[in-house]
């Protein structure tokens, strides 16, 4: 497998094309920033041509679409070329691109090139010769997007070159990279195909494309698309009809007879409300409700055991295909079960790095496709979020990875004197053409910045710099979790209503995204969402793992700018300095922990994970037991703790509070 994620070859090799493909692959290896696709027919479409094995079509943004004739057979090649262009035109028509990019006579001459292979063939020269001028690049990129099935909403993005930053980012043409294209079009041998990536690498989008491919390829297939989170399941269910519509799927969606989209659990009454509900119904297994002792592990084991008792000749597959998002939220037995009950294939997508403190299992890296290019977040923001999350700018690091894992999440490392280490990321296509050097993608502000008046100032600023901004382009996320934040949010909401006239959506109440309203929430309702601008507000940078992980995840929700507004300046200096280095030098500068320190980190994380599945009540009870607090006064202390502003699960502070107050509560 070629490990360059920007190169994708869809051509079956033969004696005629092998050498040229190898040469182009070599070129791609040496030019790792250049996106290149090789094909002989549009991907994901029905077209095939007679002359296919004698030709290579090379797609690379900023270059003409190059048709290479390998056998020097002018007439057949010409027919191939004309047919290909004609078909490309019909795809362009199908997705309404034609109105924006015109007919082939408008682009054929300027954007395509025909070449015959000869002894002096040189890939460098070829690309050099067919470079496109700036004004033609966008049109060419749109044609490429059609050929690889990475269809964009042309009405939204248009063929015109956008002017402002917000418009550029919003109207950016999305092109699947090599890894993404591989996932959608390549035939994998194994029954379960796993894709793993950082959040923001477009996994869910890919699953939707896969779903579309599966849905249209077989009229009789039964497909279940599932995930853990209810909100995500609802969003998917809403998105699929418009996505299918948009992808010009002519077949009607037959809900709950051919296609199911819902969470993994479901309810007892409605067999279609979740995968487990359906399986209980299908295999006649008693339904269990969620409880502290009934979890995924238990229910899927139960179904699995049940199915294993069915005689082989009586066994029926529940589905043909199962697609799973949020792999990280499910136990192993779930995937085994899915593999058992799906006739054809199971596609699984997961976050490699959902939790920056998760034990890094090697098995996680053993997947079919790893996506490490984050298309959502600006690399500077991503680097900062990783660094602040794991405490890389601080003396005491909260987490550290082996080199292999750093690489898997997209980092290049260079070691310097005194254990100094630089971690950098490759620039990504999404921002490649934008001059962002003058725009700060990540902004930290200290004391005073969390005042309502200051936040309003930031909002007004965003508005004046981006006149087309809509309230729904912005999210405000309050990172803390205590009673006070609700009051704070209320007063903020009223001020935004009053002074900007914007609608505000308190997402922790509505649990949905509303049109034309600013999204404001605690960290619980942000999963899977992204915004051009994100403003994170917090009292101070806390040291707990839970908090740091939240901080990391929330900062990466933006695709233009993230603000981090901190009320208390304590410890902020290191973060600010770290950010300055990222902005100036484009790398994270950190000191690698010693072997001893790494061992210490590992131990702490192991204890942490054994505690992480606890509810808050269990957590408190454990402490009460440790401190020998009588059962009779635990309830009172519990109430007092809720009133006090102590972060939940902060063990040290909780113990301190109990010790300081127990004499008043325990008689």
């Amino acid at each position: 497998m070629n490990n360059n994620s920007l190169f994708y070859n869809h051509i079956e090799e033969n004696d005629i094309n092998r050498q040229v493909i190898n040469e182009i692959a070599k070129y791609a290896e040496e030019n790792r920033h250049q996106q290149i696709y090789l094909l002989t027919a549009p991907l994901g479409e029905k077209y095939h041509y007679q002359y296919e094995k004698d030709v290579i079509v090379i797609l690379s943004p900023k270059h003409k679409i190059i048709f290479l004739d390998l056998s020097n057979n002018g007439k057949d090649f010409e027919i191939f070329y004309e047919d290909f262009v004609e078909d490309l035109n019909s795809i362009s028509d199908k997705y309404n691109y034609k109105e924006h990019i015109g007919r082939p006579r408008d682009w054929k001459r300027e954007i395509t090139a025909k070449e015959v292979i000869n002894t002096e063939f040189d890939v460098d020269d070829l690309f050099e010769k067919h470079k496109l001028s700036n004004d033609l690049q966008r049109k060419c990129e749109l044609l490429i997007s059609l050929l690889i099935g990475s269809i964009n909403d042309i009405e939204k993005i248009g063929a015109e070159v956008p002017a402002t930053l917000l418009e550029k980012v919003k109207r950016n043409i999305i092109l699947f990279d090599g890894d993404q294209t591989r996932f959608i079009y390549k035939d994998f041998h194994n029954k379960t195909v796993a894709i793993q990536g950082l959040s923001g690498t477009g996994k869910t989008e890919l699953l939707l494309h896969k779903l579309k491919e599966l849905y249209i390829s077989d009229d009789n297939s039964k497909i279940f698309f599932t995930c853990h989170n209810i909100a995500l399941a609802n969003t998917l269910k809403e998105r699929i009809p418009s996505f299918f519509n948009f992808m010009k799927v002519e077949k009607q969606i037959e809900w709950n007879s051919r296609l199911w989209v819902d969470r993994a659990w479901g309810t007892q009454k409605d067999k279609n409300s979740g995968l487990y509900s359906y399986l209980c119904h299908f295999y006649n297994v008693p339904f269990l409700r969620y409880s502290p002792i009934t979890d995924y592990e238990r229910i899927f084991n139960q179904v699995f055991e049940h199915i294993n008792q069915i005689e082989e000749d009586e066994f029926e597959f529940a589905f043909d295909y199962i697609l799973i998002d949020e792999r990280q939220d499910f136990p192993k037995v779930f995937f085994e079960l899915c593999e058992k009950i799906a006739r054809e294939k199971v596609y699984v997508a997961g976050d490699i790095f959902q939790d920056i403190f998760e034990n890094t299992k090697d098995t996680e890296l053993e997947v079919d496709v790893i996506l490490n290019r984050c298309y959502r977040t600006d690399p500077r923001t991503l680097m900062f979020a990783h660094a602040i999350g794991m405490g890389l700018f601080e003396e005491k690091k909260l987490n550290w990875f082996e080199d292999k894992y750093w690489e898997a999440i997209g980092y290049n490392m260079t070691r310097h004197k005194g254990r100094e280490l630089h971690l950098s990321r490759e620039p990504i296509r999404r921002f490649e053409d934008l001059d962002l050097s003058n725009t700060q993608s990540m902004i930290i502000e200290g004391q005073g910045s969390t005042h309502t008046t200051h936040i309003l100032r930031i909002l007004k600023n965003i508005q004046s710099e981006n006149p087309t901004v809509s309230p729904s382009d912005i999210a405000i996320i309050i990172l803390d979790d205590n009673r006070r934040i609700y009051e704070y949010i209320d007063s903020l909401c009223y001020s935004i209503n009053e002074q900007l006239g914007w609608k505000v959506n308190r997402a922790y109440e509505s649990k949905t995204k509303e049109e034309n309203s600013l999204y404001i929430t605690n960290p619980n309702n942000v999963k899977g969402l992204e915004f051009p601008f994100v403003i994170c507000v917090t009292a101070y940078i806390k040291d707990s793992y839970r908090y740091r992980n939240i901080l990391y995840t929330m900062l990466t929700r933006s695709f233009i700018q993230s603000y981090l507004l901190v009320e208390n300046n304590h410890g902020l200096k290191f973060q600010q300095e770290g950010l300055e280095t990222i902005n100036e030098k484009r790398y994270i500068k950190t000191i690698e922990p010693t072997g001893e320190e790494k061992e210490e980190i590992r131990k702490t994380l192991i204890t942490l994970h054994s505690e992480s599945s606890m509810s808050y009540k269990e957590f408190l009870n454990l402490i009460f037991r440790e401190l020998k607090i009588k059962t009779s006064c635990r309830e009172k202390l519990e109430k007092a703790l809720l009133q006090a502003e102590i972060e939940k699960f902060d063990k040290d502070k909780t113990i301190k509070f109990i010790n300081a107050n127990k004499e008043f509560y325990c008689k």
């Binding site: 309810t267 009673r483 609700y486």
Partner: protein, 217 residues
């Protein structure tokens, strides 16, 4: 009797005067919660933006009044009111503070899908979660809100519907000025008024300490 007044801007007014008229108890609870939250935050509204008013009358029986041009209505305010150093505090049965967090929990519970679900256990789940996470009294609070008689009455001056009714010769089925008593379609009825009702008239009508009004044919 104590009286507190709060100015409403257009955005707040939209919360309390939804486009579709109130038809269910859940909407009334939602309005009660939004109003309580509004009074706690007591936002400052620029004079030019004021388009309505919220009045809280505190007595043995407390009530909330919502006013905008041509429409007034009132519901019972079931919480205890105390004023500490110029700030209002609300509590439920004297042992549960009705604060922003409780309000958010309540709104989110009554607006979430599982509340409307077919299965009773789905309904319980979020309530049970909140009890565990925040306060053991949450269910008692929610139950009282659901069982509470909200005493909804609305004054309406609706020119358009009146004219429509008049064209059909049915103006007495939809008098220009009228009270709507109750809100659900099974219970609601109109009481016609001979003239426009001023804000204070509604307050006076519902004030148990002042003389009663009489209906005249």
């Amino acid at each position: 009797m104590k009286r507190y007044e709060f100015d409403l801007s257009l955005s707040a007014q939209k919360l309390f005067f939804p486009e579709e008229r109130v038809k269910t108890k859940l909407q009334v609870i939602d309005i009660l919660m939004e109003a309580t939250r509004y009074m706690l935050a007591n936002p400052t509204i620029a004079k030019t933006n004021i388009t309505g008013k919220l009045v809280l009358l505190v007595d043995r029986m407390s009530r909330l009044f919502f006013f905008k041009e041509g429409k007034h209505y009132s519901i019972v305010f079931p919480f205890l009111v105390s004023e500490i150093e110029g700030t209002l505090h609300f509590s439920f049965q004297n042992n549960l503070e009705v604060d922003s967090q409780l309000i958010s929990n309540t709104i989110s519970t009554i607006s979430c899908d599982s509340f409307k679900d077919k299965c009773s256990l789905d309904f319980i789940e979020p309530i049970y979660d909140y009890e565990n996470e925040f306060d053991d009294n949450f269910w008692i609070f929610l139950r009282e809100l659901l069982l509470n008689e909200d005493g909804y009455i609305r004054y309406d001056r609706d020119e358009k519907s009146y004219q429509e009714a008049k064209e059909k010769g049915e103006e007495h089925k939809h008098p220009l000025n009228h009270f709507d008593v109750f809100y659900s379609s099974n219970a609601t009825f109109k009481l016609g008024l001979h003239s426009e009702s001023a804000e204070e008239q509604l307050i006076d009508l519902l004030n148990t300490k002042t003389d009663c009004k009489y209906l005249r044919e």
